[in-house]
Symmetry: C2
Subunit: 211 residues, 2 copies
């Protein structure tokens, strides 16, 4: 398996899932600005939108879209218990993956993280943030995870919440959410993924400054 | 089962899925402006974000998020064949549901459909449209559906593409996509859902004009 990722991008959720499963994979870094892989391949030739993650399976199929890859990994390594097995649990997992993907990642964070986004797009995104973080705050009060146990939805939510430090969103205003993020950051798979990708992110920034 | 919907909203995909399955359900209309149900209930008391669809199952659970509800319906009515059963097929279904939800619905269409969105947000959305519609155009050239057979992902994509008529996006620039939309509009479940919701949409507009 080969995971195309960018450091601290939403692809980090798939790295966390792979570490949870103890699965081996090749991690191929994609520069989010040049859209070149670490080996110099034009990533848009692999996935035309240029977005990460993408996962090349052992059978050679290329899967894209974070929620699909995360569920594929949960299914591929069932012993890691990264997804519920019952019908309602599966629906709830899909609900949270979809919520994090559509309401948080794309609606709130994508425009805030894009330096090229016009001011109106950033203001619009920020205006949407409160109701969405409030909903998570109410859900996570008194809970350890989004579902009854750690799942790939937590890997995704952790990754997205981590972006708040480079946006005007102050996570501390949502105490249950901030505590959830802090708690997850100490989980071994998460701590390892974050440390490794944090280092790669610093190297990426240094490369861009030097360029 | 009770489906909370707004006419021609993304919830129409769930109506199409229910018609495909020949399943009976109560359809509860939510006014997208007042956020009141047709019976006068405050919809935010049911789902705080006020977004449709939401599905109340026969067991009384409330499910939200379009991709989750669509997959729940496909699972609940397997004889309708609305989702592949194999692992790669499932991953591909999730990939397309996620793509339509994050890249088309939330990134491109939500800001374009929201009259309250600032101009910068609309320009930003429009700028993202071409690459995403190009990707679909290449995928659908020579194909009847997103996957090998009609699935809930087609119900979702059909619904989202239908919104282009009230945006600056001219679907005719993408011939395979326009032909796909036209072809699907003649499918009985789709034609029925669209006719019924089109009528309800006209009534909603008339109510708003009168208010």
């Amino acid at each position: 398996m080969e995971l195309f990722f960018s450091p601290l991008g939403c692809s980090m959720a798939s790295r966390i899932a792979l570490y949870e499963a103890g699965a081996s994979a090749t991690f191929t870094e994609v520069d989010p600005v040049t859209k070149l892989t670490a080996g110099g391949t034009v990533y848009r030739d692999i996935y035309p939108l240029g977005l990460v993650p993408a996962l090349r399976t052992e059978q050679g199929d290329l899967l894209t879209e974070n929620a699909a890859i995360l569920q594929y990994l949960a299914e591929r390594f069932p012993e890691a218990g990264l997804a519920p097995r019952d019908a309602l649990g599966t629906a709830r997992l899909q609900q949270w993956l979809c919520f994090v993907g559509t309401e948080l990642h794309k609606t709130v964070f994508s425009p805030l993280l894009d330096r090229a986004a016009p001011e109106g797009a950033r203001a619009y995104a920020l205006e949407k943030a409160t109701a969405r973080l409030d909903l998570l705050e109410r859900h996570l009060a008194g809970r350890e995870f989004l579902l009854d146990a750690f799942s790939v939805a937590d890997a995704y939510l952790f990754t997205v919440l981590g972006w708040s430090v480079v946006t005007p969103i102050e996570l501390g205003k949502w105490p249950a959410l901030a505590a959830y993020h802090e708690r997850l950051s100490r989980r071994p798979s998460v701590a390892r993924a974050r440390a490794e990708e944090g280092k790669l992110y610093a190297e990426e920034r240094a490369r861009h400054r030097a360029a």
